[in-house]
Amino acid sequence: MTVPVPTRPAGATTGPWYPPTAEGGIAPIEVHHEVSLFLALESEAFDDRRFDAWSEMLDDSFTYRVPVPVVRDNASGPPYDPGTLLIDETKESILDIWLARYGEQLYDVAWGEHPPLRFRHHVSNVRVRTTERSGVYLARSNVLLSMVRQATDPAQLGAERHDVIGRQPEGAWALLSRYCVLDAVVLDVPQVRVML
Protein backbone atom coordinates (compact mmCIF):
# COMPACT_ATOMS: atom_id res chain seq x y z
CA MET A 1 0.00 0.00 0.00
CA THR A 2 1.13 3.55 -0.56
CA VAL A 3 0.89 6.55 1.66
CA PRO A 4 -1.85 8.85 0.39
CA VAL A 5 -0.80 12.15 -1.15
CA PRO A 6 -1.81 14.80 1.32
CA THR A 7 -4.18 17.56 0.40
CA ARG A 8 -6.22 20.24 2.02
CA PRO A 9 -9.37 21.63 0.48
CA ALA A 10 -8.54 24.62 -1.73
CA GLY A 11 -8.37 27.70 0.42
CA ALA A 12 -8.20 25.78 3.69
CA THR A 13 -5.33 27.01 5.84
CA THR A 14 -5.64 24.64 8.75
CA GLY A 15 -6.25 20.95 9.28
CA PRO A 16 -4.14 17.84 8.93
CA TRP A 17 -2.36 16.79 5.76
CA TYR A 18 -3.33 13.20 6.48
CA PRO A 19 -6.85 12.94 7.84
CA PRO A 20 -6.33 10.59 10.80
CA THR A 21 -9.46 8.64 9.98
CA ALA A 22 -8.53 7.88 6.39
CA GLU A 23 -6.32 4.93 7.32
CA GLY A 24 -8.61 3.50 9.92
CA GLY A 25 -8.72 3.87 13.64
CA ILE A 26 -6.05 3.79 16.26
CA ALA A 27 -4.66 0.27 16.57
CA PRO A 28 -5.18 -1.79 19.75
CA ILE A 29 -2.78 -0.94 22.53
CA GLU A 30 -0.95 -4.28 22.22
CA VAL A 31 -0.23 -3.53 18.57
CA HIS A 32 0.85 -0.01 19.45
CA HIS A 33 3.24 -1.44 21.98
CA GLU A 34 4.70 -4.01 19.60
CA VAL A 35 5.11 -1.52 16.76
CA SER A 36 6.71 1.05 19.05
CA LEU A 37 9.16 -1.55 20.29
CA PHE A 38 9.86 -2.61 16.71
CA LEU A 39 10.69 0.98 15.76
CA ALA A 40 12.99 1.35 18.74
CA LEU A 41 14.81 -1.89 17.90
CA GLU A 42 15.05 -0.89 14.26
CA SER A 43 16.74 2.39 15.23
CA GLU A 44 18.97 0.57 17.65
CA ALA A 45 20.19 -1.81 14.95
CA PHE A 46 20.97 1.05 12.57
CA ASP A 47 22.61 3.27 15.17
CA ASP A 48 24.70 0.30 16.35
CA ARG A 49 25.81 -0.25 12.73
CA ARG A 50 24.37 -3.77 12.84
CA PHE A 51 23.27 -3.38 9.23
CA ASP A 52 22.65 -7.08 8.61
CA ALA A 53 20.20 -7.17 11.49
CA TRP A 54 18.71 -3.88 10.39
CA SER A 55 18.13 -4.97 6.80
CA GLU A 56 16.46 -8.15 8.00
CA MET A 57 13.76 -5.92 9.45
CA LEU A 58 12.92 -4.69 5.94
CA ASP A 59 10.36 -6.51 3.84
CA ASP A 60 11.69 -7.55 0.41
CA SER A 61 9.30 -5.03 -1.15
CA PHE A 62 10.58 -2.22 1.08
CA THR A 63 10.75 1.29 -0.39
CA TYR A 64 12.19 4.39 1.24
CA ARG A 65 11.25 7.79 -0.14
CA VAL A 66 11.89 11.37 0.90
CA PRO A 67 10.24 14.10 -1.16
CA VAL A 68 11.88 17.46 -1.83
CA PRO A 69 10.77 20.16 0.66
CA VAL A 70 9.49 23.48 -0.63
CA VAL A 71 8.01 26.67 0.84
CA ARG A 72 4.77 27.35 -0.99
CA ASP A 73 2.92 30.65 -1.04
CA ASN A 74 -0.33 29.08 0.08
CA ALA A 75 -1.45 26.78 2.85
CA SER A 76 -3.40 24.27 0.79
CA GLY A 77 -0.43 22.39 -0.64
CA PRO A 78 1.96 20.29 1.42
CA PRO A 79 5.38 21.73 2.34
CA TYR A 80 7.07 19.41 -0.14
CA ASP A 81 6.67 18.23 -3.71
CA PRO A 82 5.24 14.69 -3.66
CA GLY A 83 6.43 13.99 -7.20
CA THR A 84 10.07 14.90 -6.64
CA LEU A 85 12.15 12.57 -4.57
CA LEU A 86 15.34 13.50 -2.82
CA ILE A 87 15.79 9.86 -1.80
CA ASP A 88 14.18 6.94 -3.61
CA GLU A 89 15.41 3.52 -2.56
CA THR A 90 14.37 -0.11 -2.57
CA LYS A 91 15.66 -2.85 -0.32
CA GLU A 92 17.80 -4.02 -3.24
CA SER A 93 19.38 -0.61 -3.85
CA ILE A 94 19.97 -0.11 -0.13
CA LEU A 95 21.77 -3.43 0.10
CA ASP A 96 23.66 -3.21 -3.19
CA ILE A 97 24.71 0.43 -3.21
CA TRP A 98 24.07 2.15 0.12
CA LEU A 99 25.03 -0.42 2.76
CA ALA A 100 27.69 -1.88 0.47
CA ARG A 101 29.75 1.24 1.11
CA TYR A 102 29.69 0.54 4.85
CA GLY A 103 30.90 -3.03 4.35
CA GLU A 104 34.45 -4.33 4.55
CA GLN A 105 34.85 -4.63 0.78
CA LEU A 106 34.33 -0.95 0.07
CA TYR A 107 34.78 0.85 3.34
CA ASP A 108 38.40 1.86 2.67
CA VAL A 109 37.54 3.55 -0.63
CA ALA A 110 34.12 4.96 0.31
CA TRP A 111 35.94 8.05 1.46
CA GLY A 112 32.93 9.97 2.68
CA GLU A 113 31.96 7.19 5.07
CA HIS A 114 35.00 7.09 7.30
CA PRO A 115 35.53 7.71 10.03
CA PRO A 116 31.90 6.61 10.19
CA LEU A 117 29.30 9.27 10.79
CA ARG A 118 27.56 8.60 14.07
CA PHE A 119 23.80 8.48 13.88
CA ARG A 120 21.31 8.69 16.73
CA HIS A 121 17.62 8.33 15.95
CA HIS A 122 15.28 9.98 18.43
CA VAL A 123 11.87 8.51 17.65
CA SER A 124 8.77 9.86 19.35
CA ASN A 125 5.02 10.40 19.11
CA VAL A 126 4.35 7.00 17.57
CA ARG A 127 0.75 6.74 16.31
CA VAL A 128 -0.30 3.37 14.94
CA ARG A 129 -3.45 3.05 12.84
CA THR A 130 -5.12 0.12 11.20
CA THR A 131 -5.32 -0.21 7.42
CA GLU A 132 -7.59 -2.11 5.06
CA ARG A 133 -5.07 -4.97 5.17
CA SER A 134 -5.15 -7.34 8.10
CA GLY A 135 -1.89 -7.28 10.06
CA VAL A 136 -0.64 -4.17 8.24
CA TYR A 137 -0.50 -0.85 10.05
CA LEU A 138 0.37 2.75 9.25
CA ALA A 139 2.70 4.10 11.91
CA ARG A 140 3.37 7.80 11.94
CA SER A 141 6.18 8.98 14.15
CA ASN A 142 8.41 11.98 14.61
CA VAL A 143 12.12 11.46 14.17
CA LEU A 144 15.05 13.66 15.03
CA LEU A 145 18.22 12.29 13.52
CA SER A 146 21.39 13.48 15.18
CA MET A 147 24.50 13.13 13.00
CA VAL A 148 28.10 13.65 13.97
CA ARG A 149 30.86 13.88 11.36
CA GLN A 150 34.34 13.48 12.80
CA ALA A 151 34.66 15.92 15.72
CA THR A 152 32.22 18.52 14.47
CA ASP A 153 29.15 19.60 16.37
CA PRO A 154 26.13 17.33 15.97
CA ALA A 155 23.75 18.25 13.18
CA GLN A 156 20.05 17.48 13.51
CA LEU A 157 17.48 16.65 10.91
CA GLY A 158 13.84 16.48 11.92
CA ALA A 159 11.16 14.68 9.96
CA GLU A 160 7.84 12.91 10.17
CA ARG A 161 7.87 9.26 9.22
CA HIS A 162 4.98 7.50 7.57
CA ASP A 163 5.86 3.84 7.96
CA VAL A 164 3.85 0.90 6.75
CA ILE A 165 4.59 -1.99 9.06
CA GLY A 166 3.29 -5.52 8.78
CA ARG A 167 3.44 -8.81 10.60
CA GLN A 168 5.27 -11.44 8.59
CA PRO A 169 3.88 -15.00 8.26
CA GLU A 170 6.50 -16.21 10.75
CA GLY A 171 5.32 -13.65 13.29
CA ALA A 172 8.07 -11.06 13.17
CA TRP A 173 7.34 -7.48 12.21
CA ALA A 174 8.80 -5.92 9.07
CA LEU A 175 8.99 -2.48 7.56
CA LEU A 176 7.08 -2.43 4.26
CA SER A 177 7.73 1.21 3.36
CA ARG A 178 8.95 4.45 4.81
CA TYR A 179 7.97 7.89 3.53
CA CYS A 180 9.60 10.80 5.34
CA VAL A 181 8.63 14.43 5.25
CA LEU A 182 11.53 16.70 6.16
CA ASP A 183 11.14 19.71 8.43
CA ALA A 184 14.04 21.72 7.00
CA VAL A 185 14.00 23.25 3.53
CA VAL A 186 17.71 24.05 3.44
CA LEU A 187 19.50 20.89 4.52
CA ASP A 188 22.50 21.64 6.70
CA VAL A 189 23.83 18.19 7.50
CA PRO A 190 27.14 16.45 6.77
CA GLN A 191 25.45 14.02 4.37
CA VAL A 192 22.07 14.19 2.70
CA ARG A 193 22.06 10.40 2.28
CA VAL A 194 20.21 9.85 5.53
CA MET A 195 18.15 6.95 6.77
CA LEU A 196 15.56 8.82 8.77
Binding site: L85, W111, V185, L187, V194
Partner: protein, 450 residues
Protein backbone atom coordinates in the same frame (compact mmCIF):
# COMPACT_ATOMS: atom_id res chain seq x y z
CA UNK B 1 48.46 35.53 -4.89
CA UNK B 2 50.73 34.76 -7.79
CA UNK B 3 49.75 33.33 -11.12
CA UNK B 4 52.65 32.54 -13.39
CA UNK B 5 52.97 31.07 -16.90
CA UNK B 6 51.29 27.69 -16.90
CA UNK B 7 54.07 25.62 -18.51
CA UNK B 8 56.37 26.44 -15.63
CA UNK B 9 54.08 26.96 -12.72
CA UNK B 10 50.52 27.90 -12.04
CA UNK B 11 50.41 28.80 -8.43
CA UNK B 12 47.59 30.28 -6.39
CA UNK B 13 47.57 31.41 -2.82
CA UNK B 14 45.30 29.44 -0.55
CA UNK B 15 44.00 32.77 0.71
CA UNK B 16 42.14 32.94 -2.55
CA UNK B 17 39.70 30.46 -1.02
CA UNK B 18 39.72 31.15 2.68
CA UNK B 19 40.39 34.85 3.21
CA UNK B 20 37.17 36.73 4.08
CA UNK B 21 38.54 39.85 2.38
CA UNK B 22 38.90 37.95 -0.88
CA UNK B 23 35.36 36.66 -0.53
CA UNK B 24 34.05 40.17 0.05
CA UNK B 25 35.79 41.33 -3.09
CA UNK B 26 34.40 38.42 -5.10
CA UNK B 27 30.87 39.49 -4.21
CA UNK B 28 31.55 42.85 -5.81
CA UNK B 29 33.92 42.08 -8.67
CA UNK B 30 32.58 38.71 -9.80
CA UNK B 31 29.04 38.34 -8.56
CA UNK B 32 28.31 42.01 -9.16
CA UNK B 33 29.28 41.89 -12.82
CA UNK B 34 28.92 38.39 -14.31
CA UNK B 35 25.89 36.73 -15.82
CA UNK B 36 24.58 34.36 -13.14
CA UNK B 37 22.24 31.39 -13.41
CA UNK B 38 18.91 31.99 -11.62
CA UNK B 39 16.60 29.22 -12.73
CA UNK B 40 14.97 27.29 -15.53
CA UNK B 41 12.10 28.55 -17.66
CA UNK B 42 10.06 25.42 -16.93
CA UNK B 43 9.86 26.50 -13.28
CA UNK B 44 7.81 29.53 -14.24
CA UNK B 45 5.82 28.61 -17.35
CA UNK B 46 2.79 30.87 -16.79
CA UNK B 47 2.47 34.65 -16.42
CA UNK B 48 2.78 35.55 -12.74
CA UNK B 49 4.77 32.41 -11.87
CA UNK B 50 7.66 33.31 -9.66
CA UNK B 51 10.46 31.67 -7.69
CA UNK B 52 12.76 33.24 -5.13
CA UNK B 53 16.48 32.90 -5.69
CA UNK B 54 19.79 34.59 -5.07
CA UNK B 55 21.76 36.59 -7.61
CA UNK B 56 25.20 36.45 -6.09
CA UNK B 57 24.05 36.36 -2.50
CA UNK B 58 21.34 39.00 -2.94
CA UNK B 59 17.81 37.58 -2.59
CA UNK B 60 15.85 38.06 -5.81
CA UNK B 61 12.50 37.24 -7.36
CA UNK B 62 12.58 35.56 -10.77
CA UNK B 63 9.16 36.12 -12.30
CA UNK B 64 7.41 35.78 -15.65
CA UNK B 65 5.40 38.99 -15.93
CA UNK B 66 1.95 39.37 -17.42
CA UNK B 67 3.51 39.84 -20.89
CA UNK B 68 5.59 36.70 -20.52
CA UNK B 69 8.87 38.57 -20.04
CA UNK B 70 11.38 37.07 -17.62
CA UNK B 71 12.32 39.54 -14.91
CA UNK B 72 14.61 39.51 -11.90
CA UNK B 73 14.10 41.91 -9.00
CA UNK B 74 15.75 42.42 -5.66
CA UNK B 75 13.30 40.80 -3.25
CA UNK B 76 12.95 43.98 -1.25
CA UNK B 77 10.41 46.76 -1.00
CA UNK B 78 11.66 50.14 -2.24
CA UNK B 79 10.16 51.81 0.82
CA UNK B 80 11.66 50.20 3.94
CA UNK B 81 13.39 47.17 2.47
CA UNK B 82 11.15 44.39 3.75
CA UNK B 83 11.11 41.13 1.85
CA UNK B 84 8.30 40.98 -0.69
CA UNK B 85 8.12 37.25 -1.50
CA UNK B 86 8.58 34.90 1.42
CA UNK B 87 7.84 31.61 -0.31
CA UNK B 88 10.07 29.61 -2.65
CA UNK B 89 7.50 29.66 -5.43
CA UNK B 90 4.06 30.93 -6.30
CA UNK B 91 1.99 32.93 -8.75
CA UNK B 92 1.02 36.56 -8.41
CA UNK B 93 0.22 39.49 -10.65
CA UNK B 94 1.40 41.89 -7.95
CA UNK B 95 3.75 41.94 -4.99
CA UNK B 96 2.41 43.79 -1.96
CA UNK B 97 4.71 44.61 0.90
CA UNK B 98 3.47 43.38 4.27
CA UNK B 99 4.96 46.37 6.11
CA UNK B 100 3.27 49.54 4.74
CA UNK B 101 1.61 48.02 1.72
CA UNK B 102 3.53 49.44 -1.20
CA UNK B 103 2.51 47.40 -4.21
CA UNK B 104 4.33 46.47 -7.39
CA UNK B 105 3.15 44.89 -10.64
CA UNK B 106 5.08 41.76 -11.56
CA UNK B 107 6.79 43.89 -14.19
CA UNK B 108 8.46 45.67 -11.27
CA UNK B 109 6.47 48.87 -11.63
CA UNK B 110 5.43 50.57 -8.41
CA UNK B 111 1.66 50.82 -8.75
CA UNK B 112 0.51 51.58 -5.23
CA UNK B 113 1.75 53.66 -2.32
CA UNK B 114 -0.55 53.42 0.67
CA UNK B 115 -2.20 56.76 1.65
CA UNK B 116 0.11 58.36 -0.91
CA UNK B 117 -1.31 61.89 -0.83
CA UNK B 118 -1.65 62.02 2.93
CA UNK B 119 1.83 60.72 3.59
CA UNK B 120 3.88 62.08 0.70
CA UNK B 121 1.87 64.96 -0.71
CA UNK B 122 0.81 65.70 -4.24
CA UNK B 123 4.23 65.97 -5.86
CA UNK B 124 5.34 62.44 -4.99
CA UNK B 125 5.94 60.33 -8.08
CA UNK B 126 5.81 56.60 -7.44
CA UNK B 127 7.32 55.98 -10.88
CA UNK B 128 10.65 56.68 -9.20
CA UNK B 129 10.17 53.66 -6.95
CA UNK B 130 10.01 50.68 -9.26
CA UNK B 131 11.70 47.57 -7.86
CA UNK B 132 15.47 47.36 -8.05
CA UNK B 133 16.02 45.19 -11.07
CA UNK B 134 18.81 43.09 -12.52
CA UNK B 135 20.65 44.92 -15.27
CA UNK B 136 19.91 42.27 -17.86
CA UNK B 137 17.96 39.01 -17.99
CA UNK B 138 18.13 36.46 -20.80
CA UNK B 139 17.82 32.74 -21.36
CA UNK B 140 19.33 30.04 -23.53
CA UNK B 141 17.94 26.51 -23.90
CA UNK B 142 15.61 27.29 -20.97
CA UNK B 143 18.48 28.28 -18.67
CA UNK B 144 17.74 31.72 -17.24
CA UNK B 145 20.62 34.03 -16.44
CA UNK B 146 20.72 37.55 -15.06
CA UNK B 147 23.40 40.08 -14.24
CA UNK B 148 23.37 43.12 -11.99
CA UNK B 149 25.49 44.93 -14.60
CA UNK B 150 23.34 46.75 -17.14
CA UNK B 151 26.46 47.32 -19.25
CA UNK B 152 27.26 43.60 -19.39
CA UNK B 153 27.82 42.03 -22.81
CA UNK B 154 24.95 40.02 -24.27
CA UNK B 155 24.46 36.55 -22.84
CA UNK B 156 25.57 35.04 -26.15
CA UNK B 157 28.80 37.05 -26.10
CA UNK B 158 29.33 36.19 -22.46
CA UNK B 159 28.90 32.45 -23.01
CA UNK B 160 31.31 32.51 -25.95
CA UNK B 161 32.29 29.00 -27.08
CA UNK B 162 30.52 27.43 -24.12
CA UNK B 163 27.17 27.81 -25.92
CA UNK B 164 28.21 24.97 -28.23
CA UNK B 165 28.56 22.61 -25.27
CA UNK B 166 25.43 23.91 -23.54
CA UNK B 167 23.46 23.11 -26.68
CA UNK B 168 24.82 19.57 -26.64
CA UNK B 169 23.47 19.11 -23.10
CA UNK B 170 20.41 21.37 -22.87
CA UNK B 171 19.38 22.03 -26.47
CA UNK B 172 19.03 18.61 -28.03
CA UNK B 173 15.36 17.75 -27.55
CA UNK B 174 12.46 19.01 -29.65
CA UNK B 175 10.31 19.91 -26.65
CA UNK B 176 13.26 20.82 -24.45
CA UNK B 177 13.92 19.94 -20.86
CA UNK B 178 11.90 20.59 -17.76
CA UNK B 179 12.87 20.60 -14.12
CA UNK B 180 12.09 17.55 -12.03
CA UNK B 181 10.34 19.57 -9.35
CA UNK B 182 11.69 22.33 -7.16
CA UNK B 183 15.42 22.60 -6.51
CA UNK B 184 16.96 21.01 -3.45
CA UNK B 185 18.96 23.33 -1.23
CA UNK B 186 21.87 22.19 0.90
CA UNK B 187 24.58 23.83 2.94
CA UNK B 188 28.21 22.98 2.26
CA UNK B 189 30.76 24.21 4.76
CA UNK B 190 33.33 24.90 2.07
CA UNK B 191 34.38 27.62 -0.34
CA UNK B 192 32.19 27.92 -3.42
CA UNK B 193 35.18 27.44 -5.70
CA UNK B 194 36.00 23.94 -4.38
CA UNK B 195 33.04 22.20 -5.97
CA UNK B 196 33.10 24.62 -8.90
CA UNK B 197 36.69 23.85 -9.82
CA UNK B 198 35.99 20.16 -9.45
CA UNK B 199 33.04 20.30 -11.82
CA UNK B 200 34.94 22.56 -14.21
CA UNK B 201 36.53 19.40 -15.59
CA UNK B 202 38.58 17.58 -12.98
CA UNK B 203 38.77 14.04 -14.30
CA UNK B 204 41.87 13.50 -12.21
CA UNK B 205 40.08 12.87 -8.91
CA UNK B 206 37.55 10.41 -10.32
CA UNK B 207 39.44 7.09 -10.06
CA UNK B 208 40.42 7.86 -6.46
CA UNK B 209 37.57 9.82 -4.91
CA UNK B 210 34.93 7.67 -6.62
CA UNK B 211 36.65 4.30 -6.44
CA UNK B 212 33.68 2.81 -4.62
CA UNK B 213 31.44 3.69 -7.56
CA UNK B 214 33.75 1.83 -9.94
CA UNK B 215 33.71 -1.19 -7.67
CA UNK B 216 29.92 -1.06 -7.50
CA UNK B 217 29.71 -1.17 -11.30
CA UNK B 218 28.18 2.29 -11.71
CA UNK B 219 30.67 3.05 -14.46
CA UNK B 220 30.03 0.71 -17.37
CA UNK B 221 32.00 -2.48 -16.91
CA UNK B 222 33.74 -4.31 -19.77
CA UNK B 223 30.81 -6.69 -20.21
CA UNK B 224 28.35 -3.77 -20.17
CA UNK B 225 30.39 -2.13 -22.94
CA UNK B 226 30.75 -5.30 -25.01
CA UNK B 227 26.98 -5.67 -25.03
CA UNK B 228 26.61 -2.21 -26.57
CA UNK B 229 29.18 -1.99 -29.38
CA UNK B 230 32.71 -3.08 -30.27
CA UNK B 231 35.05 -2.05 -27.47
CA UNK B 232 38.04 0.02 -28.59
CA UNK B 233 40.09 0.45 -25.44
CA UNK B 234 40.13 -0.19 -21.75
CA UNK B 235 40.46 3.43 -20.76
CA UNK B 236 37.61 5.91 -21.18
CA UNK B 237 38.88 8.72 -23.46
CA UNK B 238 38.39 12.22 -22.12
CA UNK B 239 38.83 15.79 -23.31
CA UNK B 240 38.72 19.08 -21.50
CA UNK B 241 37.65 22.44 -22.81
CA UNK B 242 38.51 26.04 -22.01
CA UNK B 243 35.41 27.63 -23.48
CA UNK B 244 36.48 31.24 -22.91
CA UNK B 245 35.51 33.74 -20.20
CA UNK B 246 36.18 31.14 -17.52
CA UNK B 247 33.65 28.64 -18.87
CA UNK B 248 34.78 25.04 -19.15
CA UNK B 249 33.75 21.49 -19.96
CA UNK B 250 34.94 17.95 -19.73
CA UNK B 251 33.70 15.30 -22.14
CA UNK B 252 34.42 11.67 -21.43
CA UNK B 253 33.26 8.89 -23.76
CA UNK B 254 32.72 5.19 -23.42
CA UNK B 255 35.50 3.34 -25.25
CA UNK B 256 33.22 1.85 -27.89
CA UNK B 257 32.83 2.33 -31.63
CA UNK B 258 29.16 2.06 -32.55
CA UNK B 259 28.14 2.02 -36.22
CA UNK B 260 25.85 4.98 -35.67
CA UNK B 261 25.57 7.59 -32.91
CA UNK B 262 24.27 6.10 -29.68
CA UNK B 263 22.69 8.36 -27.07
CA UNK B 264 22.80 5.67 -24.45
CA UNK B 265 20.63 6.05 -21.43
CA UNK B 266 17.89 7.95 -23.29
CA UNK B 267 14.84 6.21 -24.76
CA UNK B 268 15.72 5.23 -28.34
CA UNK B 269 12.57 6.98 -29.50
CA UNK B 270 14.32 10.28 -28.69
CA UNK B 271 17.56 9.51 -30.53
CA UNK B 272 16.44 10.83 -33.96
CA UNK B 273 15.56 14.24 -32.57
CA UNK B 274 18.89 14.49 -30.78
CA UNK B 275 20.64 13.99 -34.12
CA UNK B 276 18.32 16.54 -35.74
CA UNK B 277 18.93 19.23 -33.15
CA UNK B 278 22.72 18.96 -32.99
CA UNK B 279 25.42 19.57 -35.57
CA UNK B 280 27.90 16.86 -36.49
CA UNK B 281 30.46 17.90 -33.91
CA UNK B 282 27.85 18.07 -31.15
CA UNK B 283 26.62 14.61 -32.13
CA UNK B 284 30.21 13.43 -31.74
CA UNK B 285 30.26 15.04 -28.29
CA UNK B 286 26.94 13.48 -27.23
CA UNK B 287 27.20 10.01 -28.71
CA UNK B 288 28.43 7.28 -26.31
CA UNK B 289 28.88 9.75 -23.47
CA UNK B 290 30.17 8.47 -20.18
CA UNK B 291 30.02 11.85 -18.51
CA UNK B 292 30.00 15.48 -19.56
CA UNK B 293 30.22 18.35 -17.15
CA UNK B 294 31.47 21.88 -16.85
CA UNK B 295 30.85 25.38 -15.61
CA UNK B 296 29.29 28.56 -16.74
CA UNK B 297 31.49 31.05 -14.96
CA UNK B 298 31.35 31.78 -12.15
CA UNK B 299 29.10 29.51 -10.09
CA UNK B 300 26.85 27.37 -12.29
CA UNK B 301 27.92 23.80 -12.88
CA UNK B 302 26.19 21.30 -15.13
CA UNK B 303 26.55 17.58 -15.49
CA UNK B 304 25.15 14.95 -17.82
CA UNK B 305 25.98 11.45 -16.77
CA UNK B 306 25.48 7.95 -18.08
CA UNK B 307 25.35 5.39 -15.34
CA UNK B 308 24.93 1.64 -15.22
CA UNK B 309 23.75 -0.51 -12.36
CA UNK B 310 21.88 2.16 -10.42
CA UNK B 311 18.70 0.08 -10.60
CA UNK B 312 20.22 -3.35 -10.48
CA UNK B 313 22.62 -5.09 -12.80
CA UNK B 314 21.96 -4.33 -16.47
CA UNK B 315 20.13 -1.06 -15.83
CA UNK B 316 21.39 2.06 -17.54
CA UNK B 317 20.23 5.64 -17.54
CA UNK B 318 21.21 9.23 -18.07
CA UNK B 319 20.47 12.34 -16.06
CA UNK B 320 21.21 16.02 -16.31
CA UNK B 321 21.65 18.35 -13.42
CA UNK B 322 22.50 21.95 -12.71
CA UNK B 323 24.19 22.96 -9.51
CA UNK B 324 24.47 26.54 -8.33
CA UNK B 325 26.92 27.55 -5.61
CA UNK B 326 25.80 30.58 -3.62
CA UNK B 327 28.86 32.03 -1.85
CA UNK B 328 27.44 32.95 1.55
CA UNK B 329 30.90 33.27 3.14
CA UNK B 330 34.46 32.23 2.37
CA UNK B 331 33.78 28.89 4.05
CA UNK B 332 30.01 28.62 3.67
CA UNK B 333 28.12 27.80 0.48
CA UNK B 334 24.46 27.18 -0.20
CA UNK B 335 24.11 24.71 -3.03
CA UNK B 336 21.00 24.61 -5.23
CA UNK B 337 20.35 21.41 -7.18
CA UNK B 338 18.05 21.01 -10.17
CA UNK B 339 17.50 17.83 -12.09
CA UNK B 340 16.27 18.21 -15.67
CA UNK B 341 14.64 15.66 -17.96
CA UNK B 342 13.38 15.64 -21.55
CA UNK B 343 9.76 16.80 -21.54
CA UNK B 344 8.92 14.05 -24.03
CA UNK B 345 10.34 11.22 -21.93
CA UNK B 346 7.65 9.08 -20.32
CA UNK B 347 7.01 8.86 -16.60
CA UNK B 348 8.72 5.49 -16.28
CA UNK B 349 11.95 6.84 -17.78
CA UNK B 350 11.76 9.99 -15.65
CA UNK B 351 11.43 7.89 -12.50
CA UNK B 352 14.39 5.74 -13.60
CA UNK B 353 16.46 8.85 -14.26
CA UNK B 354 15.46 10.37 -10.94
CA UNK B 355 16.51 7.26 -9.05
CA UNK B 356 19.82 7.05 -10.91
CA UNK B 357 20.48 10.69 -10.08
CA UNK B 358 19.39 10.46 -6.45
CA UNK B 359 21.73 7.54 -5.82
CA UNK B 360 24.80 9.01 -7.55
CA UNK B 361 25.05 12.74 -8.29
CA UNK B 362 21.97 14.01 -6.47
CA UNK B 363 22.27 15.82 -3.12
CA UNK B 364 22.26 12.46 -1.32
CA UNK B 365 24.21 10.58 -3.96
CA UNK B 366 27.40 8.72 -3.19
CA UNK B 367 29.51 10.81 -5.57
CA UNK B 368 28.50 13.95 -3.77
CA UNK B 369 29.22 12.44 -0.37
CA UNK B 370 32.75 11.53 -1.36
CA UNK B 371 33.36 14.86 -3.11
CA UNK B 372 31.76 16.84 -0.32
CA UNK B 373 34.03 15.31 2.29
CA UNK B 374 37.06 16.46 0.29
CA UNK B 375 35.70 19.97 -0.20
CA UNK B 376 34.67 20.44 3.43
CA UNK B 377 38.00 19.06 4.61
CA UNK B 378 39.82 21.89 2.83
CA UNK B 379 37.76 24.41 4.78
CA UNK B 380 38.44 22.45 7.99
CA UNK B 381 42.15 22.78 7.41
CA UNK B 382 42.47 26.42 6.40
CA UNK B 383 41.53 28.12 9.63
CA UNK B 384 44.97 29.37 10.62
CA UNK B 385 47.70 31.56 9.21
CA UNK B 386 50.08 28.71 8.40
CA UNK B 387 47.71 26.90 6.06
CA UNK B 388 46.60 30.13 4.43
CA UNK B 389 50.21 31.02 3.71
CA UNK B 390 50.48 27.98 1.44
CA UNK B 391 49.82 27.69 -2.26
CA UNK B 392 48.17 25.29 -4.66
CA UNK B 393 50.23 24.21 -7.65
CA UNK B 394 47.88 23.68 -10.56
CA UNK B 395 50.07 22.51 -13.40
CA UNK B 396 48.36 19.16 -14.07
CA UNK B 397 47.80 18.42 -17.74
CA UNK B 398 49.78 21.43 -18.95
CA UNK B 399 51.53 19.16 -21.41
CA UNK B 400 48.37 17.57 -22.74
CA UNK B 401 48.18 18.03 -26.52
CA UNK B 402 45.62 20.14 -28.30
CA UNK B 403 42.64 18.25 -29.69
CA UNK B 404 41.89 20.86 -32.32
CA UNK B 405 41.68 18.06 -34.90
CA UNK B 406 38.17 17.52 -33.51
CA UNK B 407 37.02 20.95 -34.63
CA UNK B 408 35.25 21.61 -31.32
CA UNK B 409 35.16 25.25 -30.20
CA UNK B 410 37.46 26.56 -27.48
CA UNK B 411 40.85 25.35 -26.33
CA UNK B 412 40.28 21.60 -26.33
CA UNK B 413 42.86 19.20 -24.96
CA UNK B 414 43.17 15.46 -25.12
CA UNK B 415 43.19 13.88 -21.68
CA UNK B 416 40.98 14.62 -18.71
CA UNK B 417 43.30 13.88 -15.79
CA UNK B 418 44.16 17.52 -15.77
CA UNK B 419 43.88 20.94 -14.19
CA UNK B 420 43.39 22.57 -17.60
CA UNK B 421 39.87 23.70 -16.76
CA UNK B 422 40.77 24.87 -13.26
CA UNK B 423 43.41 27.13 -14.78
CA UNK B 424 40.83 28.47 -17.25
CA UNK B 425 38.46 29.20 -14.36
CA UNK B 426 41.14 30.88 -12.25
CA UNK B 427 42.53 32.97 -15.08
CA UNK B 428 39.12 34.56 -15.58
CA UNK B 429 38.68 34.92 -11.82
CA UNK B 430 42.04 36.63 -11.70
CA UNK B 431 41.16 39.10 -14.47
CA UNK B 432 37.95 40.15 -12.77
CA UNK B 433 39.42 40.43 -9.30
CA UNK B 434 42.10 42.89 -10.43
CA UNK B 435 44.39 41.44 -7.82
CA UNK B 436 46.69 44.47 -7.72
CA UNK B 437 44.15 45.92 -5.38
CA UNK B 438 44.34 42.79 -3.27
CA UNK B 439 47.82 43.69 -2.10
CA UNK B 440 46.01 45.51 0.65
CA UNK B 441 45.19 42.13 2.12
CA UNK B 442 48.30 40.17 1.34
CA UNK B 443 51.96 40.98 0.99
CA UNK B 444 53.73 40.13 -2.21
CA UNK B 445 50.61 39.95 -4.33
CA UNK B 446 50.79 39.13 -7.88
CA UNK B 447 53.96 39.54 -9.70
CA UNK B 448 52.80 38.13 -12.96
CA UNK B 449 49.69 36.76 -14.54
CA UNK B 450 49.48 34.40 -17.46
Amino acid sequence: MTLVGERDAFRVSRRLYFDPAVHERELDRIFGSCWLFVGHESEIPEPGDYVTRRLGIDPVILVRDEDGTLRVFLNSCRHRGAKLCRADQGNSSHFRCSYHGWTYANSGRCVGVTFQHEVYGRSFDKANFDLYSAGRVDSLFGLVFATWDSDAPTLADYLADEAFYLRAVFGKFDAGLSVMGPPVRTVMRDNWKADTENLSGDGYHTPIAHESAFKLGLFARPDDLAALAPVTAKRFPGRTVDGGNGHTARVQHLPIAPERPMFLGYPESLWPEIERNLDGRQIEVQSRISVMHGNVFPNMSFLENFKTGTDGRGSMCRYIHVKLKVPLAADLTEVWWWQLAPIDADDEWRALSQRAYARTNGPGGMFEIDDGENFVSTADVHVGPMARRGTYELVGGAEHPSADYLGWPGDVRDGDRTEHTIRAFLRRWHELMEPDALSEVEDGLPRACS
